[in-house]
Amino acid sequence: MNKLTRAGLGLLMTTAVATAQAEDVKIGMITTLSGGGSHLGVDVRDGFMLAMDQADRDDIEVLIQDDARRPDLAKSLSNEFMQRDEVDILTGIIWSNLAMAVVPSVVRQGTFYLSPNAGPSALAGKMCHENYFNVAYQNDNLHGAMGAYMREQGFENPLLMAPNYPAGTDALAGFKHLFEGEVADEIYTQLGQTDYAAEIARIRASDADSLFFFLPGGMGISFMKQWENSGVEMPVFGAAFSFDETIIKAVGSAAIGAMNTSQWAYDLENAANQAFVEGFQDAYDRMPTLYAAQGYDTARLILSALEKAHPSDQDAFREALREADFDSVRGEFRFGPNHHPIQDIYVREVVEGEDGEPTNRLVGIAVEDIQDVYAEQCRM
């Protein structure tokens, strides 16, 4: 709240501050802080601001605005940041549809955009741009990695389920790409659906040996709760979007045993991650999620590039970003030719923690150095 007020005040005083120092760096963050799905935006913001606080630089100003998950509002805010506040860097968008509304025109107009979450396929492929960097993942990464993992584990007939919208169809396509085998069935649900009784009955009636699903946010919570009491015995797999620390707390015991892929885990052993997890718990008194880790990495990437160049020197700053010269909390991290990560994807299992609440435990690596398939369509 404090930070936000500061950002809000900063916003009002930008004209005064802007003239003060030419070397200052201004970062605009558009993210979802109100309405459904706002815990993702709050985590990205808190992770990002934690890194900024730890760096303790007074020449960086971060302006934060809430998009309320509305594409047109996000678009208007991006205009505000670019045209009024003249920010050097934009970041923060959570949802693919908002990213599609904002990013293409932002990068075309010569502002850098660093995505802390959304990674739609178009922006990794045909619409890639030299000023666009994705610090999280291409949307397919985690699903594909789970496909590879389940094949290795010897599952032969998984049933796939996702909402009927582009990220959902992409998710299943990504899964199938690396699973490579036949699947029992594909079930598409409605976006925002809350009752899954009919789908669970279909799953029960199928001859599948496992279930892979992509139901982000509240949809996943609803599904897992209903799955628990249905009496269907089948191993469950998914991507971290349905199993972040916040979500599994809300699901409760129903989540235990589920396997999920993530590019990050809080129990990854590296110095950067320890500093992050401890710092986050101290600052905000809760466990970080992968979204917080992405926000944190985004800020640390920016900080590392600022050591080398100011964003006004576009070519040098871009080169500095491309080098990704920072210790990512996820371990190894580098950018592919389309400015999307090449990274290891881990497998986690939801287990009962010491306090009796479910938590994720690192199991191993699903796929090393995964890269999205859209890179070859990218010409920059």
Binding site: N164, E186, I187, T194, D195, A197, A205, I221, N229, S230
Partner: protein, 306 residues
């Protein structure tokens, strides 16, 4: 498709229908007696679920949580009625829509302010978890059967209340002639507050029960609010009987549409395309149903009055 699966899906439709009835009955009651369109009805659903979740965690008893949730929703309803709603009875529908739209914003963001953005934990009690065997070898969650039972009890209770009690008589009088019951010496303000709180309590009950099966989060009332409106419009606004039949119809059509349409399209399309197209059509199905019904019966199936 086997008969077992069909039976299971019919029960699913019935369960969705009973949940919708809990929402729709309050909505239709408030409209029938006071002539008020209440978009904020979904907020009471959310209040019920939130309070149940919080109270269940702190008391350790789902039953206590449920009672707290229903009471909180009723109290929230009564307060909102006293502060805002009673100024709206003589206003146009348009003003009612705007004011209750504003209430949604206040409730949703106020809840988020108080309890944060993260979804809350709420699960069915231990005694009601697990599943029972259905004829034909399939299994069905106990908790969903309980929801159906609660729905039936509430429907019966509402019938008794309206047909056989003094309050019910006043409600019926209010539905047929609003000026009249004032003349009969009934304290009409208190009646209105009571009816509104009753409607809110029913929504809170739905939220509390379903909260154990769904994500308890800000905005959870909106999708179900729209469905409840579809239900009461199909059934005829102001009619409890209409709400019951409308709820069952919508529950069945929605559930069966989600199951059968993808399968139907699978007959002449590739599985992926069929799943996509079928699901898309299933999402539109209840709206199509509503448009068709209204095209032929402009006042719904069992209109009480306009």
């Amino acid at each position: 498709m086997s008969v077992t699966l069909l039976i299971e899906q019919l029960i699913n439709g019935l369960q969705l229908g009973t949940m919708l009835f809990l929402m729709a009955s309050g909505l239709t009651l408030v409209f029938g007696v006071m002539g008020l369109i209440n978009l904020a009805h979904g907020s009471f659903y959310m209040v019920g679920a939130y309070v149940t979740a919080l109270a269940t965690v702190s008391t350790g008893s789902f039953l206590l949580g449920l009672v707290a949730g229903v009471l909180a929703a009723a109290a929230a309803g009564a307060i909102v009625e006293l502060l805002v709603i009673r100024r709206l009875y003589h206003r146009q529908h348009l003003d009612q829509v705007l004011a209750t739209f504003a209430l949604i914003l206040i409730f949703s963001e106020g809840t988020r302010w108080l309890f944060g953005s993260s979804p809350l934990w709420l699960s069915p009690p231990e005694a009601l978890s697990g599943s029972v065997a259905l004829p034909g070898g399939s299994r069905y969650p106990v908790y969903r059967l309980v929801i159906i039972a609660v729905g039936v009890v509430v429907a019966a209770g509402l019938y008794l209340l309206i047909a056989h009690t003094r309050l019910g008589m006043r409600i019926r009088a209010g539905e047929s002639d609003r000026e009249m019951i004032g003349a009969l010496g009934v304290n009409i303000r208190r009646l209105y507050t009571l009816v509104f709180a009753l409607g809110a309590a029913l929504a809170g009950l739905a939220g509390s029960l379903v909260g154990a099966l769904q994500s308890v989060q800000v905005g959870m009332g909106e999708p179900v609010l729209i469905l409840a409106f579809v239900v009461i419009v199909i059934g005829g606004i102001g009619s409890i009987k209409g709400a019951l039949l409308g709820a069952l119809l919508v529950g069945m059509v929605d559930t069966l549409g989600r199951v059968f349409l993808p399968a139907l399209f699978g007959q002449f399309m590739s599985p992926s395309d069929a799943a996509g197209t079928g699901t898309a059509l299933a999402a539109m199905l209840i709206y199509i149903l509503m448009a068709v019904i209204l095209a032929f019966k402009p006042k719904g199936l069992f209109a009480a009055h306009d």
